[in-house]
């Protein structure tokens, strides 16, 4: 009997460890462009199944941070561990393998104008050498589109879609590789408040359905309030404050208050 309880306790501990296991760790990150120091000793931890929002003013280096994480920019100093691998030290082929496990939703959606919605979604599958037969590919595309509620747009061109639909299609393209981590770069920028809320709900739904971890770059307080399990305020290139929405909202620091006013 006691043995059974011990085993159960062990399993619970492993489950808890898994939940708090960091899937993304940014340590002592420095990045500058000429004399402009954008990130100065920045640190961040994203746990499995967690939604972390990096909140900051325009030009504070949020997008630079996310581009360093995905390997589009090389940091001057520091380490970025994604699923245990240091992104900074990877060759281009090993970086591609890591990238296959990360979804990236671009601020401008970055849908390929010359391709249909179907081709846009198939592109990451083909490029990451994921060999599937045409039926499987079709099924994956259909499923990703159903996840964002836009199955009927499969043969449309991006130019025929509204801003909100393009954002959803970009999200479907991000989902098609079943990523463990999703990086959202300003997911609600340029959308009206109603569509913005729909996108946030979709992000939460995706997190619950696929148990993904998300790093969300935003300055939209609606997005922060609804989607964040934890918030990191990026100010002057550093992690200025950290906590959940309620804790930071009650903070007395003038620089923190300005975000919540």
């Amino acid at each position: 009997m006691s043995n059974t309880i011990l085993k159960k306790e062990n399993i619970d501990t492993i489950e808890t460890q898994k939940k708090t296991e960091p899937v993304l760790m940014v340590s002592h990150l420095y990045k500058s462009f000429g004399d402009n120091k954008v990130l100065i000793d920045f640190n961040l931890k994203l746990n499995k199944g967690e939604n972390v929002v990096v909140l900051g003013k325009s030009g504070s280096g949020k997008s630079v941070l996310i581009k360093c994480i995905i390997g589009l920019l090389l940091p001057d100093e520091g380490e970025i561990h994604v699923l245990g691998e240091n992104v900074v030290e990877q060759t281009s082929s090993s970086l591609d393998k890591i990238r296959a496990k990360i979804g990236f939703l671009f601020q401008s959606n970055a849908l390929y104008d010359s391709m249909t919605v179907r081709e846009n979604l198939e592109f990451p599958l083909r490029r990451h050498w994921i060999k599937n037969n045409p039926d499987e590919v079709n099924q994956l595309v259909q499923q990703a589109l159903e996840d964002v509620g836009l199955g009927y747009t499969i043969d449309m061109m991006p130019v025929e879609l509204s801003g909100g639909m393009r954002k959803r299609i970009a999200l479907a393209r991000t989902l098609i590789l079943k990523p463990e981590i999703i990086l959202y770069d300003e997911p609600t920028t340029g959308l009206d408040p109603i569509t913005g809320k729909e996108i946030i709900r979709l992000m939460i739904h995706i997190k619950e359905k696929y148990n993904t971890s998300s790093l969300i770059i935003s300055h939209d307080m609606n997005c922060v309030k609804l989607a964040a399990d934890r918030i990191i305020i990026l100010l002057e290139g550093k992690c200025y404050a950290e906590g959940d929405y309620e804790t930071l909202r009650k903070d007395k620091d003038a620089k923190v208050i300005q975000f919540f006013e």
């Binding site: 589009l72 990238r99 990360i102 671009f106 601020q107 849908l111 104008d113 490029r127 990451h128």
Partner: protein, 256 residues
């Protein structure tokens, strides 16, 4: 000695283009080969340019013949029109004019396409999707432009000569077979081959400059327009420079 800003900009531009060309030569032969994209670009760059190149070639042949005719009649050498037009079109006017039309159509379209992809983060999205955007976008387009311009030039030359045949027959009567016999008798191996070879360099220059301008486009939509525009200007200048060098080389080799 102080160096002016415009000189610095020019040197920066030359350095940037040289380094971009170096990157192309270091990557084009390495796998992964973007064969499907290369053939798609051949279709877009080659096949879709054919109507414009054909039309301008036809008009060029016709007009050149009609402009030449009065002087030739004055000197009493009217019968030499097919030979003279043939040499002019095959050796110089055909390759250069086709390359300039090609620079206007393809150079600007590559510059604008890559420029808009750059400012809307599509190039970054490709990189994130496990694609080397330089190989997928640049290598395929530069190779397609290099391979397609010689083909277009041959077609344009042929269409120009048909235009010339029509021009000869507006005021005179020369049979179809006589016209072509006169054209081919006037042409030598050394007229055709150097002219054909230089079109590969023209195509390479147009493709490379279009890609360079688009790939490093900045400052939003205004930057895209500027990229398209400067792609045409720089590649047109390069076409004349390459032509000048080609003439000097063929002269030194004794092919003139």
């Amino acid at each position: 000695m102080p160096v002016s800003t415009s000189t610095k900009n020019l040197l920066n531009e030359v350095g940037g283009i040289s380094s971009f060309a170096g990157r192309f030569f270091s990557q084009w032969y390495k796998p992964r080969y973007e064969i499907a994209e290369f053939f798609r670009q051949c279709y877009v760059i080659g096949y879709k340019s054919l109507p414009l190149v054909g039309l301008t070639g036809f008009i060029m042949g016709l007009v050149l013949t009609m402009q030449l005719r009065p002087t030739m009649v004055d000197y009493g050498v009217e019968s030499q029109i097919p030979a003279i037009v043939g040499i002019a079109i095959i050796r110089e006017i055909g390759p250069v004019l086709t390359a300039l039309i090609f620079a206007g159509k393809i150079g600007s379209s590559i510059g604008a396409e890559l420029g808009s992809m750059k400012v809307t983060e599509q190039i970054d999205a490709m990189e994130v999707s496990g694609t080397n955007p330089f190989k997928y976008l640049v290598v395929s387009r530069v190779l397609a432009a290099t391979c397609m311009l010689p083909v277009l030039t041959v077609m344009s030359d042929a269409i120009s000569l048909y235009g010339s045949y029509l021009g000869v027959n507006i005021r005179g009567t020369t049979s179809f077979s006589l016209f072509w016999i006169q054209v081919f008798e006037s042409l030598d191996f050394y007229d055709v081959i150097p002219a054909f070879i230089k079109t590969y360099f023209f195509g390479f220059a147009v493709g490379l400059i279009g890609c360079y301008k688009g790939y490093f486009s900045s400052k939003g939509t205004e930057g895209v327009g500027r990229s398209a525009n400067s792609a045409v200007v720089v590649s047109s200048i390069l076409i004349f420079i390459i032509d000048l060098l080609a003439v000097q080389i063929t002269d030194v080799l004794g092919y003139n």
